[in-house]
Symmetry: C2
Subunit: 121 residues, 2 copies
Amino acid sequence: MQSEPVNLAGAVAQIQDYWDPHIVGELNGQHVKLAKVKGEFIWHHHENEDELFLVLKGVLHLEMRNRTVTLEEGDFFVVPKGVEHKPVAEDEVHLLMFEPASTLNTGNVRNERTVDRLRRI
Amino acid sequence: MQSEPVNLAGAVAQIQDYWDPHIVGELNGQHVKLAKVKGEFIWHHHENEDELFLVLKGVLHLEMRNRTVTLEEGDFFVVPKGVEHKPVAEDEVHLLMFEPASTLNTGNVRNERTVDRLRRI
């Protein structure tokens, strides 16, 4: 349960690695996560979870099989459950994500980029 | 279901009235809402819903019975279910809220500030 206010920029600054989402808030069975990303992630989908991406800094391309959505600072997009997507960031991007606590970062795929136990800030 | 990206500042700019939350996104039974607020709201609580407030612009005071939390731009706070709170904004504040779709803006109270049918952007 959140008991103190969280400053997004301050929290992102504590993240060291790319593609390593950190939990910064929890409510109603959902997590608020922050991540620094750069480069290409893997194609994956989430069977049961819609996933919200809000760009705090930088430019994120969300590739889907039939379209690519480009998000700049202050833009958000919801990837519906079941929709395959691949986040791509040419330069460093700071992201906020809202999604159910059950969500695995690599969705239906399990590989070296899977983070099972998320860190908290 | 969200099918196009939403720019937060652009969406807030479409809101006319204070204390009139608009739905801008929906995922996993939760709503993403935006609001412009100024002045004092009423004391209320939400029986079953935790409520996240993220300040996009301005300074929001979240008065609770035992403490007041002050949020500046980029700060968020989760008011746990059952906790009485009263948002206060001396000047105009732009807010993002994340909460279950079932959440009523005035919680356990029903008065002239209750908004039953939220607008969508």
